[in-house]
Amino acid sequence: MSNEMYRLTVNGIEHEVKDAWAGESLLYVLRERLGLPGTKGACEQGECGSCTVVMDGEAVCSCLVMAATAVDADITTVEGLSLDGEPTDVQQSFVEAGGVQCGFCTPGLIVAVHHLLDRNPNPDELAIKEAISGNICRCTGYGRIFAAVELARDQRRAMQAK
């Protein structure tokens, strides 16, 4: 352990990280030091996507990022997608379309889908599948997750059309 301190900007708020071991992953620091356990860990190898966060506009696996190297980055976690406590359109769609069972992969998927729709508001079926192919879900077989993403996409499209 060290006595050094570094700062992380998460969901628009600057946090001080003190007395941390320099080898800690961003995932660990978010969950265990910053009180943000919404981001989940399930493989520690960047294979499952449960720990997906957005870092400077890119979706990354926070298990593969050393926290101490993320000092200058803007980090968004699942907790930061809606700051007023109301579910986002994507979050609501996941519940309504049956995209949630055990829910462990869900926060990572929610972040990945927000990231997808923010970049590409009109993804087709294949673009959706490709975008979330780095997020493993063991419960749903993905069918209701595809339906949830399509629901969120169509609702945004309808909003745009108004």
Binding site: E130, R138, C139, Y142
Partner: protein, 756 residues
């Protein structure tokens, strides 16, 4: 019309009511067991054997204890109570002491102030092993050629089924050997728990992800040497289970560290440790011989079933019974000769996984049905229709099939579902075998279609009374439910609310924490909770409704038997009285508890005869695959299925179970296997153990067959397991059709297709 009739109960049975944990889960606010946290908690970690079989000569923990930040190191000699645990036989040590029997077996545990400190402490423990040759071939366990690796011997159970003429030979005989690899449950939420010692140090409270709180409680208390009431369990959020959380993993270690240090202990496995920390699906080798008349009528099955149970018994004996009693498949068959073994080895322990022995049996019997069809000149659908089991048929155990058995309808409705479009001449590379690797060439791709049909028992078998308990309180129009039913993702929490809304005519249904503060609900496994805990919630709500009706009847001077619930009102069915449930229960509390028991079952006799199962469900699958025959790559294009569900209680949740099960069956068919080499796992990680991704998911077309099951409290059968059972042989049959290869093992690997 009375104004109150406009308020209808929302989210009643039959609707796609939304799960109450949905919003917290999508917002990241739902507390999984790995999210549990306590002031001044320490981190627990486990030291595991690197050897599949070795004698422990000595353990020196002094190096670990001298590390700053390490509070405790415990080994077998620190276990205060029973030294072993187990679901059926108590044969698995809390910590290995004299011998280790599999690579990954716990030897010691530490508590430290940081996960990294704990890891360093594990490195500093010196264990001196005398390495022994491992027993890794199940046949060596059966033949007795290997010395016993456990005091209970190398055969966990043998069970025969002998029925009818044992020398009968059919006009048509087909046979083959079939192998099933070791599959992992691969739930996403890794094993995790938080143990809090009582202030006085006399007991412990555990927040844990499990499938059966009360069974854990019993085993933990025995190992801690504590009375059962001193060990209290609350369900921490569970990130999937699929059978892999039936057995004890870190529970005893975590509690023991908490009692030893007097501090809260958090333990959580990483993915690699998870592969070592829970049991897997049994690898199987099955020989089958089918005897039929020339027209394809099935007359006799012969089978030899060998399940490798690994180092400890877990549920192997029950998995074996499921395998041997389902060898005929969903087909009428009067004669049988089945010999089954579940054996012990120095491979990783195996136990429950979705499908529980029937997955292995089904791969063999469905592969055989296709061989039989070919031998009789029938197509795969006709051979299955011809032999389809019906209610009233006798099973090879002598038990009469008295469940609703719409096997023929499952097959016909599946066949009626639309087939996918042909692969276009210039498909998107993501849609062809190998996907984004861009390796397959259109010209090498062949399409195949295959079938699988299955039968699956529901609930526990062989005389076990796996009852479920639930409590319902109604006050001021609000119902509160309490049960110990493990919510592992399947959605029992929403089903329970739907039941209460339907029975009691209320809108708001609150759920108490899921804990051992109420009686057992049995395990969330064996497709049993909708039937069992659903029956318990239904029973408790009905008792409350009776009390409510008695109260309304007394107040309004009517016969309680005339009262019914209509929407959110209590209504006199033969008069004009109408009062809302909220008004009727105003200022009052009705509080009832109900235990649901299924009918009794029997043990099998030495010839495998007896009414050992409670009930059955059926399903048919048709798979369409594209195969690159040159590279051995497979893309599962579509799976069509018609499933016997009794009654759909929540269409969205039911569909989720069907689609999710199909993905797991697809995994076993073409990608998922724990590869063993002399007892050691070669691929304990998500990099090397491949799981289906969004790009592997086939289109799934579903027909739910609703013929309510009279035995079932809500008319609904369990739906969790059937989806993953016959989809595996259906996919393999489709690959066989596309390639002409025999493919007698799953998962089918590229080299099986290219060189097989």
């Amino acid at each position: 019309m009375n104004a109150t009739t406009s308020t209808r109960t929302r989210g009643a049975l039959g609707s796609s009511a939304l799960r109450p944990d949905g919003i917290p889960k999508v917002q990241g606010r739902f507390a999984f067991s790995s999210d549990a946290w306590a002031d001044s908690m320490l981190w627990g970690a486990t030291l595991r054997s690197p050897h599949p079989h070795a004698r422990i000569v000595s353990i020196d923990v002094s190096g670990a204890l001298s590390i700053n930040g390490v509070s405790a190191v415990i080994t077998a000699k620190d276990v205060p109570g029973q030294l072993t645990y187990g679901l059926i036989a108590s044969d698995q040590p809390v910590f290995a002491s004299e011998v280790v029997r599999y690579a990954g077996e716990p030897v010691a545990a530490v508590a430290a102030d940081h996960p990294e400190t704990a890891r360093r402490a594990l490195d500093a423990i010196r264990v001196d092993y005398e390495v022994l040759p491992p027993l890794v071939d199940a046949e060596d366990a059966i033949s007795g050629s290997f010395p016993a690796i456990h005091p209970d011997g190398n055969v966990i159970r043998r069970q025969r089924i002998i029925r009818g003429d044992q020398s009968f030979m059919g006009d048509v005989v087909v046979e083959g050997y079939y192998d099933v690899g070791m599959q992992d449950q691969a739930f996403l939420g890794l094993e995790a728990a938080l143990a809090l010692p009582d202030d006085a140090g006399g007991g412990v409270e555990l927040f844990v992800a499990t499938q059966w709180l009360h069974e854990d409680q019993k085993q933990i208390a025995a190992c801690l040497g504590l009375p059962i009431e001193k060990v209290r369990l609350t369900l921490g959020g569970v990130g999937g289970a699929f059978g892999g959380r039936e057995d004890i993993s870190l529970q005893v270690h975590c509690c023991l560290l908490a009692l030893t240090t007097g501090r809260p202990i958090k333990m959580q496995y990483g993915r690699e440790e998870s592969f070592f920390g829970h049991i897997h699906r049994h690898p199987a080798r099955i020989f089958m011989r089918h005897h039929a008349d020339r027209d394809g009528t099935l007359r006799r099955v012969e089978a030899r079933v060998v399940l490798d149970g690994g180092a400890y018994a877990s549920t192997s004996s029950a998995v074996l019974i499921n395998a041997v009693t389902h060898m005929q498949g969903p087909y009428k068959c009067e004669m049988a000769t089945v010999d089954g073994y579940a054996v012990r080895s120095n491979n990783p322990p195996c136990g429950a996984m979705r499908g529980f022995g029937v997955v292995q049996a089904c791969f063999a019997h469905e592969s055989q049905m296709d061989k039989l069809a070919a031998a009789c000149g029938l197509d795969p659908v006709d051979i299955r229709l011809k032999n389809a089991m019906r209610t009233g048929d006798r099973l090879i155990t002598g038990q009469v099939m008295d469940s609703v058995a719409p096997v023929e309808r499952c097959i016909r409705e599946t066949a009626a579902l639309p087939l996918p479009e042909p692969l276009p001449a210039d498909p998107d590379p993501l849609l062809i075998p190998g996907g984004a690797g861009l390796t397959a060439r259109r010209g090498n791709i062949t399409r195949g279609i295959g079938w699988g049909v299955s039968i699956k028992n529901l609930m526990y078998s062989e005389g076990f009374d796996d009852y479920a308990t639930a409590r319902c309180r109604l006050a001021n129009g609000v119902a509160t439910l309490q049960f110990a039913t493990a919510e592992v993702g399947q959605g029992f929490v929403v089903l329970a609310q739907q039941i209460a809304r339907t029975v009691l005519g209320v809108d708001t249904v609150l759920l108490e924490p899921i804990s051992t503060a109420i009686g057992s609900a049995g395990s969330t496994s064996a497709s049993r909770q909708t039937w069992m805990s659903g029956g318990a919630v239904d029973g408790a709500c009905r008792l409350v409704r009776e009390r409510l009706f008695e109260h309304v009847a007394a107040t309004h001077h009517v016969d309680p038997l005339r009262l019914v619930i209509d929407g959110m009102d209590v209504v006199d069915s033969m008069g004009t009285l109408r009062v809302t449930v909220a008004e009727a229960s105003h200022g009052l509390t009705f509080d009832e508890t109900f235990e649901h028991h299924h009918r009794a079952t029997e043990e099998l006799d030495e010839n495998g005869q007896g009414n050992c199962h409670v009930a059955f469900a059926f399903v048919a699958h048709r798979a369409v695959v594209d195969v690159d025959t040159e590279l051995g790559l497979v893309k599962v294009v579509q799976v069509a299925t018609a499933q016997d569900v009794g009654r759909v209680l929540n269409p969205l949740a039911a569909l989720g179970q069907v689609e999710g099960g199909i993905a797991q069956g697809l995994g076993l068919a073409v990608m998922e296997e724990i590869v063993l080499e002399n007892g050691r796992m070669r691929n304990p990680s998500f990099t090397d153990y491949l799981l289906p991704t969004a790009l592997d998911a086939p289109d799934v077309v579903v027909s739910m067959i609703e013929e309510p099951e009279p035995q079932a409290p809500l008319g609904a059968k369990g739906i969790g397991e059937p989806p993953c059972i016959s989809v595996t042989p259906a996919i393999v049959a489709a690959i066989r059709q596309a390639t002409g290869k025999e493919l007698p093992r799953v998962p089918v690997r590229p080299h099986d297709i290219v060189f097989g």
